[in-house]
Symmetry: C2
Subunit: 295 residues, 2 copies
Amino acid sequence: MRNDSYQTKLEEYARLTEKALEEKTTWGACRQRQVLDAIRYSLLGGGKRLRAAMVLEFGRLCGAPVPAALDLACAVEMVHAYSLIHDDLPCMDNDDYRRGKPSCHKKFGESTALLAGDGLLTLAFETIFSSRVLTSQQKNDAAGILAQASGIFGMIGGQVIDLESEGQKIDMDALNTLYALKTGALLRCAALLGCIAGAPEPEFLEASQIYARKCGLAFQITDDILDVMGEEEKLGKPIGSDRENKKTTYVTLLGLEGAKQSARQQIEQAKESVKEFEENGFLLWVADMILTRDH
Amino acid sequence: MRNDSYQTKLEEYARLTEKALEEKTTWGACRQRQVLDAIRYSLLGGGKRLRAAMVLEFGRLCGAPVPAALDLACAVEMVHAYSLIHDDLPCMDNDDYRRGKPSCHKKFGESTALLAGDGLLTLAFETIFSSRVLTSQQKNDAAGILAQASGIFGMIGGQVIDLESEGQKIDMDALNTLYALKTGALLRCAALLGCIAGAPEPEFLEASQIYARKCGLAFQITDDILDVMGEEEKLGKPIGSDRENKKTTYVTLLGLEGAKQSARQQIEQAKESVKEFEENGFLLWVADMILTRDH
C-alpha cells in the first residue's frame, strides 16, 4: 500500500471511532444535560485518534471482528479524553486551550469539567461491560487491563510524577518512567486490547507491547521537540510552555539534536519489533508518522 | 440478637473492611508516594462503613464466601471515598473538613486530591479484576453494576443535578431524583454486589434493591435534618451549610416535622421489604440506626 493509502486508513479508523463514540454518547432529555454536553464537547470531533487506531489495527491483525475492537477503541478514547479534561484543570496544567478550542472547564466551568472527566472514566468501563459483541472473558481481561493502565501505577502515576517533578530537574531515568506511564501505559493498553479482541499469537502480544512502548516514548520526545520547534497554529496550543514551566524534557537533557536522535532510535526499534509480521505496513507508517508529525 | 450485638456486628464489618482496604493500599517505595498517601488518608480510618456492611450482610444472607464479598465491599468503599474527595474540592462543595479532619485537598493540595480521587475510582475496578476469589462472571457482573451505579446516570448524575440546582428552588420530584442518584445508587449497588457474591434468590435480589433505596433516601433526609438540628462536634462538619448554600432539602420543602415523618416512612417501608426473610435482624437494626443516628 502507498503512504497516502495509509493516511486514508488512519482517517477511516478515526471516522469509524467518531461514529461509534457519537452513538455511545447519544442520550435523551434528562436533568444531567450539562455534563453530557461537556462530555461530548471533549470526546467528539477531535484528534488523530491514534489510540483507537492502535486498537483497531492490532485487532485487525489478530482477526478481531471490527465491532468488538471498536467497543474497546471507544473505551480507550474515553479514558484519554477524561485524562485531558482533568489535566487541563486550573489545579493541574491550567490550560485554556485544547486542540485549538477552549478547554472543557473554560467552556463549561470547573465543576462540570471535573464531573465530565469522572463520568468519562466511568463510561469507559460501562462501554466495555455493555458491549454486545465481546465475550465475558474478553470484557474481564479488557477492563482489568484498562484499569491497570489508567491507574496509579499507569497513567495517573505518570501525572503524579509529572506534578511532583515540576520546577525541579529530574534525570533521564525519572523522565523515562514519567513518559512510560503518562503516555506509554495507555498506548500499550490500546495495542493489547486490540489483540485480545481477536485471537493473538503469544509472540504477537509481546511484539505489540514493544511497538507501543517505543512509539509512546517517541511520541513524547517529539512533543518535547515540537514545544521548542513547532508552530503554534498547527499545534493548537502555545509553544515554549515547557521552558516556561521549567520542565525537564528530552530537549533540556540531550539538546535538540540529541532528542531528535533518540526519537529516531525509538522509532527504528518500534519498526524492528513488528518486522517479522505480515501486513505490518500500517504499523510501520504510523511509527514514521509519529516521528515526522508537525502537530 | 440484642441491639448491642448488632452494633458489635457493624463494628466487626467495619474492622474487616478496614483491614482489607489497608492491605489493598500497602505499596512499596515508589515515585508516586504523595498520591498514595493521599489515597490512604481519605480511604482509611473512617466512618461507619455502611456501604461495606451492606455488601457483607447481603453477601452473608446469600451464602457468599466472606473474602469474595469483602473484595466487592472494598471496591464500593473506594468509589465512595473518591466521590467524597472530589465533592470536597474548591470547585465543588469547597469543604475544608471531612469527618473532623482536614479534607484531602486541604491536606495534600488540590492537584494531588484530584488525582487521588481519579486513582481511587480506577483502583475500585482494579480491585474487582485482581480478586483471587471472585469468578469471571462475578467480576463482570460486579464491575458492570459498579460502573453504572457510579456513572453519569448514577452517582455522578446526582452530583450534576445537585450542582445545577444550587441556589434555585427545586421540587420534590427533582429532589428525590437527586437523592436517589447521589446516595441511593451506590447503596443499591452495595446491596446488589453482596447478593451476587453469593447465590441469591430472585425475590431476594428485588427486596435488597427496595431496602437499599428506602434506606438511602432516609439517610439523605436525616442528613437534611441533622444539618438543621445536629451538633457540629458529632457531625465533624459545620451545621447550617444547606441554608447557607440555599439548598432545597426535605426540611425546606416539608418542614422539620414533615421531614422526620418522611424519613420514618421510608424506614418502615425498608423494613417491610425484608420482613419475609429469615435472619433479617441486622438489616432491621441498620434501618432503625439510619433514622436515629446523630452523626
